[in-house]
């Protein structure tokens, strides 16, 4: 029974941290006329509730959503309402998924499961964006997590349904769609395409189509309306990237202004091809050898490929990569903690704009301490712990002196952390030079991008060198 008390305590800690962060400023606070994401969400509430008018809105203050007149509405009570909705959505969807996921982990002790839940719930990026900047990412990420849970536990239909809900809530979840597709396809193949596999395939197709139809039904009335929705969802007209984001194109742009040089359709093709080339190996492997572990790692590498190479990526999209990395926290604690720290750091310019410096620093430190004490990450940097054993064995066939891989990685970690701390200090204390006003943001993005490229290579190595040999070793021992 003690396990449930401790899990409740962990959930309460997570909720407390979330609410205290929400006491801070939000995106666009007091900055007319554009305001920010907070105003965007309020505006969407205004639209959806007014056309047509829903009756229950009268119980809440109607001033908050009065059509047209409530633009830019800011008050203490309204802020409380908005923050409460985020907390409730989180409590209903995301947090139960995390708790259930940690309880279903195999081969680790109860204490480690609870520690795992604590670390995932303390991940700073999601807290700061949802409760500080203000968004509802926990809903889509929660649904995606339910999807992962369902599929890992062989409830394929429910898992797919949950994932379809996630996509229809936020189209960004399409980053995760390929691994889902490949894993399920792989499962169908494994069961034999002539028998059970085919049945499963048909069932899955029906569920997906049905859920999409249900969500989109009101908008199917006219072709023009459907196209309009699609245009809003996938704004290809807005260019390769906007603002500063830690992906390849933005970093490339520092040296060579490709955004201006190349025509729009070439940019599209370039990004399309590079994205798919980088994620193809992992996906093919997943179809051929579907496994739960492979599925999770493929989620990471696919989302990371999309983030690095895709079109119109926002810095907040890193959260789509962070969620799968949280899921593999128990398997490679050292690298996951490192990645999650970098992901929070990559959003630094955004967080500073929202005046969230103090919560960012505090939550990052709390997360770091939680991971260090729960997993003793600094003791888990050997090759085997990093899951690089098979890779380094293969390399040693050609280069017998390749024995210092874990040492290299440790040094890289140190360098990375020192750079991040230095850059944070510089951004906060110094003013950028006159000629280069965006110097610090660009530097942050560039450094993060380098880190992410390293992680892309690392995760792909793990996937590709994953254990046929590992399984053989287990059979032998």
């Amino acid at each position: 029974m003690e396990k449930w008390y401790l899990m409740t305590v962990v959930v309460l800690i997570g909720l407390t941290v979330r609410w205290t962060v929400s006491l801070n400023s939000y995106s666009g606070a007091g900055k007319p006329p554009m305001f920010g994401d907070y105003e965007a969400q309020r505006h969407w509430q205004e639209i959806t509730f007014n056309l047509p008018v829903k009756q229950w809105a009268k119980f809440i203050n109607p001033d908050w959503i009065a059509l047209h007149t409530s633009r830019g509405y800011e008050s203490q009570a309204h802020k409380l309402f908005m923050r409460t909705t985020v907390l409730i959505a989180d409590l209903l969807i995301y947090i139960p998924a995390v708790v259930l996921y940690c309880c279903c982990l195999k081969e680790i002790s109860t204490k480690k499961k609870i520690a795992n839940a604590l670390c995932i719930l303390l991940y700073p990026g999601l807290i700061l964006i949802d409760y500080g900047h203000f968004q509802y990412n926990s809903v889509s990420l929660g649904f995606a997590l339910w999807g992962v849970l369902g599929i890992s536990c062989d409830c394929d239909l429910l898992g797919s349904l949950a994932f379809c809900l996630a996509i229809n809530y936020k189209q960004m979840e399409l980053y995760h769609a390929l691994p889902f597709f490949c894993f399920l396809l792989g499962k169908c193949f494994k069961k034999g395409l002539k028998g059970k596999g085919f049945v499963l395939l048909v069932k899955l197709a029906c569920i997906v189509v049905a859920s999409f139809v249900l969500c989109w039904l009101p908008f199917f009335t006219e072709r023009e309306q459907t196209l309009q929705v699609l245009r809003r969802l996938f704004p290809v007209d807005r260019g390769l990237f906007e603002d500063k984001v830690a992906n390849i194109w933005c970093s490339f742009n520092v040296f060579l202004k490709i955004k201006d040089i190349l025509p729009r359709h070439i940019q599209l093709i370039m990004s399309f091809c590079s994205t798919f080339l980088s994620l193809l190996p992992a996906c093919i492997k997943l179809i051929l050898q579907p496994s739960s572990k492979g599925f999770k790692f493929t989620l990471v590498s696919c989302a990371l490929s999309f983030f690095l190479f895709s079109f119109q990526v926002h810095e907040k999209s890193i959260l789509l990569v962070s969620l799968p990395v949280c899921l593999v926290l128990s398997e490679i604690p050292f690298m996951s903690t490192w990645f999650l720290l970098v992901s929070t750091f990559s959003m630094l310019p955004l967080l500073l704009k929202d005046e969230l410096l103090m919560p960012s620093v505090v939550t990052t430190m709390a997360f770091f301490i939680a991971c260090v004490t729960s997993f003793s990450i600094f003791e888990k940097t050997s090759e085997e712990e990093l899951q690089l054993k098979s890779f380094s064995i293969s390399v040693r066939k050609y280069l017998p002196c390749f024995t210092f891989l874990s040492r290299i990685i440790q040094y890289l970690f140190l360098i990375s952390v020192i750079t991040m701390v230095l850059l944070t200090l510089m951004t906060v204390t110094l003013d950028p030079p006159q000629k280069l006003p965006d110097l610090f943001s660009v530097l942050v993005c560039f450094v993060s991008c380098l880190n992410f490229l390293f992680f892309l290579v690392y995760f792909n190595i793990i996937i590709m060198w994953d254990s046929k040999s590992g399984r053989n070793q287990k059979k032998i021992s």
């Binding site: 401790l6 409740t8 505090v362």
Partner: protein, 521 residues
């Protein structure tokens, strides 16, 4: 990597707990703060800008200096750091000044001083095996470092109790280690920081006299008069005298002692604070009100004779009871003395070492809380924190501690009445309560259950009470007619629990000393 390991204290659970709670306190910086914030800003201004002779006379602001001189010197030292944050806060005439830098400085000063509290709690925190979370040391550290009452009173409401409790715990620890002179010295210093610790001074006095000045006992445990040591008495007296001289000396020289004492002990205030502290007088007031309502209904009382001032209207005045006899400061003093006398006698006649001292100390604090004049509900922390030390020792003490602490912490809820802080106080309270109950239950699982059905029922009743007071009541029509009902209900309900805990603790102390067991020290 080894250096990094040591630096981050891998496996050192104590640092993790301490760092964790410090980070939580940083997150609480933007929360609501009460008038106590302005009080301390004013004191920073007074001590910085005015000469000593003016400190206890200055009255530009209504929040005059009413703590002993050591605290004033503490504010003086702080003010020299404050001037680098925001010079404006040190102007006496800048009433209610609170720029963001002022806020940051004040909050950080509390967090920083709490480091002292942490240091006093220094326990060897090396990594222990599987049973870590069940070890008493771990549980005690969490109960003290993450104490809900201390968190919300110090870091939201705004006060400086953390380091003061650290001093008290340190002095108790010294007494446990038989370093009596240091313990006495620390307590004397503490008294001159905040005179509320007078509540527990009798326990210190009697214990030091009995167990330190009389160096040996007869075989049956009673006093051996011949072993009285004059040297020790005089050295103790000297320590106390020197500390007091250091503190009050300057004011004695300036002939300001009466003024200082009138500031320290303002008896002009009423029997109860605006919100009744959940002590005996809350029950007394409630009974008085009930009787007067019944009396009016049954026409025993003339409506014209009843004084108009309601005791819970939020003003701090002197007023009369209607049915029961009115209470004077002298009456409360006598009641308090009578209440602490049995525990003092136990400490004198059947001393049971430092553990007995600790129980007597808790009883003194609790009895003074029960019967004192103009008690603040925050004073319950004075009983809760020492009781935490006892709770990990014995199952009986654990059960009393849990009742006292849960009701005591709940009674602090009215301190935070703003909407944004509502989730925080509920979440933190749930966090602390669930952890304390589950961990103590696991620690003492081999003994009989900690609560009987009555106690469980009572504690569970706190949930519906909270829902009624904060969620249901504001939407009813009674909110306009009887706005004080939630406060009254909270106060009376908690008073029942605290009285029960006090009673149970007393019974346990008396029984134990009657049996004459010598507890392990």
């Amino acid at each position: 990597m080894a250096a990094l390991t040591i630096a981050t204290g891998t496996g050192n659970w104590f640092s993790a707990l301490a760092l964790g709670v410090t980070l939580l306190k940083c997150l609480l910086i933007p929360t609501y703060h009460s008038t106590d914030f302005e009080v301390h800003r004013n004191w920073l201004a007074i001590t910085h800008s005015l000469p000593i002779s003016q400190w206890y006379y200055e009255a530009t602001s209504e929040w005059t200096l009413d703590y002993p001189p050591f605290f004033a010197w503490f504010e003086y030292i702080l003010s020299h750091v404050a001037k680098y944050f925001d010079q404006e806060m040190l102007n006496v005439h800048n009433l209610n000044y609170s720029s963001s830098r002022t806020l940051l400085f004040q909050r950080f000063s509390v967090i920083f001083m709490d480091v002292l509290f942490v240091c006093c709690k220094c326990i060897d925190g090396k990594k222990v095996g599987k049973e870590l979370t069940e070890k008493p040391k771990f549980i005690l550290s969490v109960l003290l470092l993450w104490n809900f009452g201390l968190l919300i009173v110090d870091h939201i409401h705004f006060q400086y109790n953390g380091f003061l409790f650290g001093l008290m715990l340190l002095s108790i620890a010294r007494l446990f280690q038989k370093r009596h002179m240091e313990g006495a010295f620390l307590f004397a210093v503490l008294l001159h920081f905040k005179h509320i610790y007078l509540y527990v001074a009798p326990a210190y006095g009697v214990y030091l006299l009995r167990s330190y000045c009389f160096t040996a006992n007869k075989p049956d445990g009673s006093i051996r008069w011949k072993s009285f040591s004059f040297v020790r008495v005089i050295s103790l007296g000297l320590v106390v005298f020197l500390v007091s001289a250091l503190s009050l000396g300057p004011f004695l020289a300036l002939n300001q002692l009466p003024q200082v004492f009138s500031r320290l002990f303002p008896f002009k205030r009423g029997l109860c604070h605006a919100y009744w502290a959940p002590n005996f007088w809350a029950l007394y007031n409630a009974l008085d009100k009930v009787l007067s309502v019944i009396g009016l209904k049954l026409k025993f009382l003339d409506p014209n004779n009843i004084p108009k001032a309601s005791m819970t209207s939020g003003l701090v005045q002197q007023f009369q009871h209607t049915v029961l006899p009115s209470v004077t400061p002298l009456a409360t003093l006598i009641c308090t003395l009578i209440a602490i006398l049995p525990s003092i006698f136990c400490l004198w006649f059947k001393p049971q070492g430092p553990r007995g001292f600790l129980r007597c100390l808790t009883l003194c604090a609790l009895s003074s809380f029960m019967f004192g004049w103009h008690v603040h509900e925050k004073a319950i922390l004075l009983a809760i924190l020492p009781m935490s030390l006892l709770s990990v020792g014995k199952a009986g003490d654990a059960s009393i501690f849990l009742i006292l602490t849960t009701t005591g912490h709940y009674s602090l809820f009215p301190l935070l009445f703003t909407a944004p802080e509502l989730p925080i106080k509920i979440l933190l309270m749930l966090l602390f309560t669930i952890y304390s109950i589950s961990s103590l239950k696991t620690l003492f699982r081999k003994e009989k259950p900690l609560f009987n059905w009555m106690e469980t029922f009572y504690l569970l009743g706190l949930g519906p009470l909270e829902v009624c007071c904060e969620f249901v009541f504001p939407f009813t029509s009674w909110k306009v007619k009887y706005p004080f009902i939630p406060l009254l209900l909270t106060s009376v309900y908690c008073a029942v629990g605290i009285t029960y805990a006090w009673f149970k603790l007393y019974v346990s102390v008396l029984i134990d000393s009657a049996i004459g067991k010598t507890k392990k020290q």
